[in-house]
Symmetry: C2
Subunit: 342 residues, 2 copies
Amino acid sequence: MKTYREPRVAIVGATGAVGTTMLAILEDRGFPLTDLRLISSARSAGRVIDTKWGSVEVEDLASADARDVDIVLFSAGGARSLAHAPRFVSCGATVIDNSSAFRMEDSVPLVVAQVNDDAIFDHAGIVANPNCTTMVAMMAVAPLHKVAGMRTLIATTYQSVSGSGQTGMAQLASEFDHFAGNIEGLICGRWEEPEGDLYARPIAYNVVPLAGSLTATGYTDEELKLVNETRKILGRDDIAVEPTCVRVPVMVGHGIAASMWFDRPVDLDEAVAVLGSAPGTQLWDDTKVPTPIDSAGIDDVLIGRLRETVGHRGGISLFVVGDNLRKGAALNAVQLAELLVE
Amino acid sequence: MKTYREPRVAIVGATGAVGTTMLAILEDRGFPLTDLRLISSARSAGRVIDTKWGSVEVEDLASADARDVDIVLFSAGGARSLAHAPRFVSCGATVIDNSSAFRMEDSVPLVVAQVNDDAIFDHAGIVANPNCTTMVAMMAVAPLHKVAGMRTLIATTYQSVSGSGQTGMAQLASEFDHFAGNIEGLICGRWEEPEGDLYARPIAYNVVPLAGSLTATGYTDEELKLVNETRKILGRDDIAVEPTCVRVPVMVGHGIAASMWFDRPVDLDEAVAVLGSAPGTQLWDDTKVPTPIDSAGIDDVLIGRLRETVGHRGGISLFVVGDNLRKGAALNAVQLAELLVE
């Protein structure tokens, strides 16, 4: 168990949507770092970014020195993590990786801060940050699982475009411009395809029931992450997870409609008691409806629409929403880094 | 069983989002009517509307003569249906009612055209058009139920604002204007509430996991419609339905993510065979993702993302989307009227 007193920190992917949020969160939380490096692809290298710890010139990942850093927050996509995270690990650093590259490896703990913190200390250099949707879902699901043992999770998502990074937000903005003059056409089905193939179908004024890439199973990789990561985080291989991942025209904030059944019936009173004291969350009663834009820019995950299942009895249904750039990615990564600080 | 050869038809709520679509569909399909009356609230009365059957002056529902009409298509809200539909019935007309006012009454058949047509003939003057979300869902669900007996339906919705009529579309448009200058604020959580309380929370750049009005059960009336209407249409009271109804910033087109389990396992091949020949639908393979804007303005309901359940095995998951103003409301009402024509 390696911990640090005043670590030297690097952010890889520092100019991306998650990376910039990582920096802001390190600053906001007064992270006790003694040296900060910002690393990105060649395209952004050379930019100078003002930080709480002084101006920092962005380094090119391809040539960045992997020595003299303790904690590296990686959010530059799976391919870059695969290629470069091991370099930093072999030089002695601990990598907290936001990509899916290492998540399912046995030697890599998959940790949601405030859910399974203890898992982090059994690592071999790399700690994985879960998928943004899984992360938000776990904040509401795990507390109930801990008391009653979850058997079944039906999870249907409402995922914002920032889950695809700045590219996603730019695509949504450009499609809104594309459709702006022809709202009537959207009503009667006479419209022209916008440019761009980031999503399988247009995303403005629409929802796209295909988030991630389709696999031979008929499920997307994003959906299978929800299945596999849920099981790994909760430490139970036999949880039946039925996922549907849908992209929606929202900038920031991932929502999940979840229905859960457990080893024993759970009633509303118990669910309220459990989720009312769950860390990192706010449980909203029926007078307040949690939505993506309510979750944007805050650390807490919001839980609402809590109710006993009306179909097969004994279960709990709810809606949970969280800032996918913060708790869904950057905040959790920083929280994991904090666990590594003495 | 009362049928008509060349009926005299009235549309009540003729100037609303559904009513105008009803008129367009009657025209498009060459409905064999001999007289057309357009009826609305006092606010729209007196307007003259050009139709295929000549110019028609809109009558005020409060004072409209209930005689001399055979089929009345009602889409003016539950309160107006309750107050006025019986007047037309007592004068001998058959009312096809798009509101929820009469749907669960034993004497009122609840009919999805091409699903349970035969039910229509056992009426006492009123035939109910199902809820728009239920209707779209049933087009994909009922064919599978017929072959394998559905036990469990988990239905999570993506409902467009036109489900709230023209008011909903106006609200969405005005909120997009409100947020237009402050997209950055939506990302970091600094924004001002738009005007209007049609929905519980802002709907532009957002999703609102509360469609309909909350009941003491913790479910909305919209969600309970999905439970109760599904059971009535499919003729099986013990189907466990778990609904979550969510409003999304889409103009037209309701989507439903559905997972279903049956009396026996259903595999993908069987589901493809059944849904590939289901009337009124298009089954899209994995190369095409059906979305709300693809469904807007067309009669067919689109089914895609068809797959075997990955959680509890033996079930089928899919995404279905349909034009809520057409198949979800006006088209089905006209199809029911056609069943009443000899």
